[in-house]
Symmetry: C2
Subunit: 209 residues, 2 copies
DNA sequence: TTAGAATCTGACTAAATGGTCAAGAAATTG
DNA sequence: CAATTTCTTGACCATTTAGTCAGATTCTAA
């Protein structure tokens, strides 16, 4: 079958395997051999597709960022804050659930000072946040919600939505559960949404009409 | 000077240096030589005091847990929920601020599945949480606060209070600041406290009377 | 003071691991 | 159906690094 096609598939297999391994063991803890094993191909093959361990790592980060940015063009000042925030929160929780490895890898990178993400944080994420902050400020000025520091609000939403992916081991141990199921996901999303909305002085609409 | 004394001091120096390095580069990313350099002694000396890289790592984790457990005996059902929660939140924020390396190291360990903390999570942290959950449930039964899932509440407090230590690189980049100062600390604590209290249907008492 | 224990240290070693390479297999193309 | 390019792979290498060790130094106790 077409080579072009294969090449794409192989690269993707490598990226996926690498994401899992990097998330599981950290950058330094990851062995190229482990990625190769997981991807089901000889190690040398990985070095054919990617220049180096670090190059592969950067490629994984890039892909994560691309995936995340896609469905995230969020709302304008005209929207209803309660609905918009609820949407945003449920979206984030769902995203962490869909790809916990991505969330964890990203978290590890930031915990270690984000050495490879400065550019991204400063020139892509910061403007994105600024735009959302502006929207929230508009809502506040329009009296649609309680006066609330928009930056802090966004940080708090990030923190609580990602927590279930990043600290899953802790959450499961405390709850004495074996896995994070879809029910718990819904409960979690509703809980966070409810807390945040009430915190912003917004009324929470019941999710089961 | 006394040997016993020196021994203790040296061990402590090693532990502190190791905590910084492990937090900064992760377990695998950390070099024994780097710990030695930071502690200002030859590498072989570290292996005299600690069996192995992993042994030292476990010792660091142990010390972190000990430090954390000390001031955390929290409240009973008789206390006022608003005050108790506010206290707890401010305490946690302060703790993250005082020793961000500890917070980050712990976070890294959990993100990677908490391979060395299963015992601690299941047999020490879980009972601790259970006890707080019981208190919160009492508050709810007594009509002192809104009906709220106590586990989710604790997770959310953990998530948002630790976020500023663990994801500091991100927070600073977004806010375009160089460092996390004491003012921002206070704002953050007040913000989180306010959000959580309102979320629980409790009234927030102003902090500047 | 001195024997003996505890501590410290530079030099060394064995193992692990990222990365290379040359030769072969497969696909593409004119 | 060559000729050429692209891809695959086992074997190999250079480097890094945790951990060792024997000898020096410092402390303790009698």
């Amino acid at each position: 079958m077409a080579n072009r096609h294969n090449r794409t598939i192989q690269k993707q297999q490598i990226l996926t395997a690498a994401k899992q391994e990097y998330a599981l063991r950290g950058f330094s803890g990851t062995r190229m051999q482990a990625i190769a094993d997981r991807a089901g191909m000889p190690k040398a093959n990985i070095h054919y597709h990617f220049k180096s361990k670090q190059g592969l790592y950067l490629a994984v980060l890039d892909q994560i960022i691309d995936t995340w940015n896609q469905p995230f063009e969020w709302v304008s000042a005209d929207d209803d804050p309660a609905e918009a925030l609820d949407n945003f929160i449920r979206n984030k929780v769902q995203q962490s659930y869909n790809d916990p490895a991505a969330s964890r890898l990203f978290a590890s990178e930031i915990i270690q000072g984000a050495p490879h993400l400065q550019e991204y944080l400063r020139h892509r994420m910061r403007p994105w946040v600024k735009a959302r902050v502006a929207v929230i400020e508009n809502w506040i000025k329009a009296g649609k919600m309680r006066e609330t520091d928009p930056y802090q609000l966004i940080f708090m939403i990030w923190a609580s939505t990602q927590h279930y992916a990043d600290f899953q081991a802790q959450v499961l141990a405390i709850l004495n559960k074996a896995e994070f199921d879809s029910d718990l996901l819904q409960e979690t999303a509703s809980f966070i949404s409810g807390m945040i909305l009430r915190g912003c002085g917004l009324s929470v609409k019941d999710n089961k009409p």
